[in-house]
């Protein structure tokens, strides 16, 4: 029986800066439609790990494969073309363009129309842009200048942009950082729903443990560059090593307590 390669397979990823090993031999995989959270305290190597998946940073050793195809050493734009959408910890959008135009740029790129000098861009994929904006609940904002949006709306716009190339995999670096508590829950619910409907794999990093435990199917924990735990939310929560790491910040402990109290 031949097994189809997983959506994302990471093998022995290592990166060091000078003498500091930011990431050491990290391996994990992700199935289509699965939501995987990458957590760990500050400085654990989450962002370095993320940037290597996305092509912004080249690993010293190790491999990243998307559906069996090697992406290591490829540029972010090429990885995007392979079907990987990305949102940033600090939103990156086209501030002087409208919300619709932001999505249209991604659609233009997806349709390989970037060097079309004579077409009318305002009419490019207008319907598709509207559909994507509707999907993330931004339908009414299409004509607003992106620079005027509230931060939570920018995060939702980024999600719409990331979905423009019908991705197989979404990489979300702290998708809810800087958002109000209620907005966080809504955004992650929306993401989870879209991911399950379209069978998109989602890998996200997050500091907010409520978000992590509510939405992740599986969690991997990074500490000082190495993967120390992996499993379902319940397993990871019960892992003594993880508890030891997080006790300093108290986050996991608190989350457990809160749940215990409400039960």
């Amino acid at each position: 029986m031949s097994v189809a390669p997983p959506l994302l397979a990471v093998e022995g990823l290592t990166k060091s800066y000078g003498g500091i090993h930011a990431v050491r031999g990290v391996s994990f995989s992700l199935r289509a439609g699965e939501i995987l959270a990458l957590i760990g305290p500050n400085g654990a190597g989450k962002s370095t790990c993320f940037d290597m998946l996305n092509g912004q940073n080249r690993p010293d050793t190790g491999h990243v494969r998307l559906l069996g195809e090697e992406t290591t050493g490829k540029k972010p734009r090429d990885i995007w073309r392979m079907g990987v959408g990305r949102t940033f910890q600090i939103t990156a959008t086209f501030a002087t363009m409208t919300v619709r135009e932001n999505v249209q740029v991604a659609l233009i790129s997806h349709g390989k129309q970037l060097f079309n000098l004579w077409g009318s861009a305002p009419n490019v994929d207008r319907g598709e842009a509207a559909r994507l904006l509707e999907l993330v609940g931004m339908g009414g904002y299409a004509d607003r200048p992106c620079g005027e949006l509230a931060y939570g709306d920018l995060k939702r716009l980024e999600l719409a942009v990331a979905l423009a190339n019908e991705p197989k995999l979404l990489l979300m670096d702290e998708p809810t950082a800087g958002m109000a508590p209620r907005e966080r829950v809504e955004l992650m619910r929306l993401t989870a729903q879209i991911a399950r409907e379209k069978s998109i794999g989602v890998l996200f990093t997050e500091h907010d443990m409520d978000v992590v435990f509510e939405h992740a199917d599986r969690i991997i924990v990074l500490n000082r560059g190495t993967l120390i735990a992996e499993g379902s939310p319940a397993e990871v929560r019960g892992n003594p090593q993880v508890q030891a790491i997080y006790l300093g910040e108290g986050l996991l402990y608190d989350a457990g307590h809160r749940e215990g109290a409400s039960a």
Binding site: N54, F88, A95, M97, E101, V161, N165, G178, M179
Partner: protein, 629 residues
Amino acid sequence: MAFYVVQFLTGLASAASLFLVASGLSIIFGVTRIVNFAHGAFYMIGAYIAFTLTERFSGAFGFWGGVVVAALAVALIGVLVEMVLLRRIYHAPELFQLLGTFGLTLMVEDLVVLIWGPDDLVGRRAPGFKGAVDFFGQNIPSYDLFLIALGPIVLGILWLLFQRTRWGVLVRAATQDRDMVAALGVNQKWLFTSVFAVGVFLAALGGALQIPRDAVHHAMDLRIIVEVFVVVVIGGLGSIVGAFVAAVLVSELNAFGILIFPKISIILVFLVMAVVLIVRPWGLFGKPEAAARKTPGLTVNPWRPLTSNERLAALAALVVAAILPLFAGNYALTVGSEIAIFVIFAVSLHFLMSVGGLASFGHAAYFGLGAYGVAFLAKMAGLPMIVCLLLGPLLGCMGAAVFGFFAVQLSGVYFAMLTLAFAQIVWSIAFQWVSVTGGDNGILGVWPASWAASPSHFYWLALGVAALVTIALRVMVFSPFGYALRATRDSLLRSEAVGINAKRIQWTAFVIAGTTAGIGGALFAYLKGSVFPDNLGISLSVDALVMVLLGGVETVSGGVIGAIVYKALNIWLVSQTDLSKLVLGGFIVLIVVVFPKGIVGMLEVLAQRRRKSSPPGSSLLAKPIESAE
């Protein structure tokens, strides 16, 4: 052998002044993030004041005292300039800062002529260093030896100043993170002012110390500033050691370049700079800049295509312009043709600068290449006018393809400086390669064919081409390519993350803009009947920048309006006053300080206000962010 040693020492002596000026520029940039174009002007004023003082007071005390007092006096002028002008533009985009200080330079050039006259002034020799030292039969002026020693001494003093004093610690801290320094309660205003004063003092001292070696004249500012740009770019903006090493390198390249490649001595330095920038974009001793500020983007304002009413209005304006020959005289038509050509030039730069966020400081290179292209084809190949007009701009296209490839690897100030350097290379070739380009004498007798010879016919030709070019570029702004270009301007990170190859998009835009400028240049050659190196000079590049800014860098049609207003004003000014640079410079400073949105931008703001005041509309106040991590 002795000859080469002497040549080497001469190079070292020239390096001293260059280092003083460059270190001043570097210190100012490090702390205030302003690239002070007026630095050359301060250098020049230093030389002039020192000349007056040393003529007035004789003797050793008079000379050395005069030099120091001159530098101090100029530093005081610098403080004044900083407080009155620069404090208002610290938060403006860097482009505006470069332009504002350039306006200042223009004003100083006229003021200096007004006070000291247009002639070269030859200063006294330095008391105590009048003779020469014999070196194996070669003479070395002893003043050169003094300068050679001075360079390292000043470097040492600056080092002590920055390492051993509280002020120096603050300056170094501010160079790394000025926001943090401000947050720690340091009075930024005075820190900036004092840094500016020190930088200007160094520039003026450099100028004052030059008087025993070189005549003082009113064009020395531009010459030194271009060299100083090269030095700080090679050495790394913000690094004093870098400025020293690069000053020596550049001076030696100059000293030996003349011996080895007499024809291309000027371009040698620029080639080295281009290589350094490509290998180490932030210079030999510099550090990579944090993500550059977006070049235009003073405000958020999405662009939209013209409505049908606006299209009708534009068409009506074109029709009015087209019937001008029915009642205007020949002079007015020639002026009209020139304005139409400058509209082409300005919209081409506007496309690169506003849509692409790439502020080229050497855009005239491609305009001039188009003009030379026509001149070569018409004079050497004897091709008919229509063929020349079609093929001539290809020279601009090729130039833009080659230089643009390197230039788009950089951004922000470095992009501006590299484009300036490339334009200077092209200018030097036009100037020095006399057998082909005629050098300073240019190429004469490029006259239009009989069908376009009359002023009205030529006017219609220029107007027609200008209209076509403007429409074509406007279509491109709203094409998928235009969207992609704006995307790379707004966020490189995001555009790469949605599959856009930003460099290739920007390079394409550079070639489009260069070719379009070449079309303008081709027409210009026929309008003037001749081509000169000035057609690709710095001042023409700056004219284009001013036109775009005057029209409004954030608008879609700013280039057209800016070109018309600026060119008409310029032609009128030159006919009215001898002090056109003074007025023009003042005008630029005024735009930058009180009018940064330009004419079209102001009109848009007014229109928006009127629209907003009628319906309450949807206020777009951002929701407060309740928690931040």
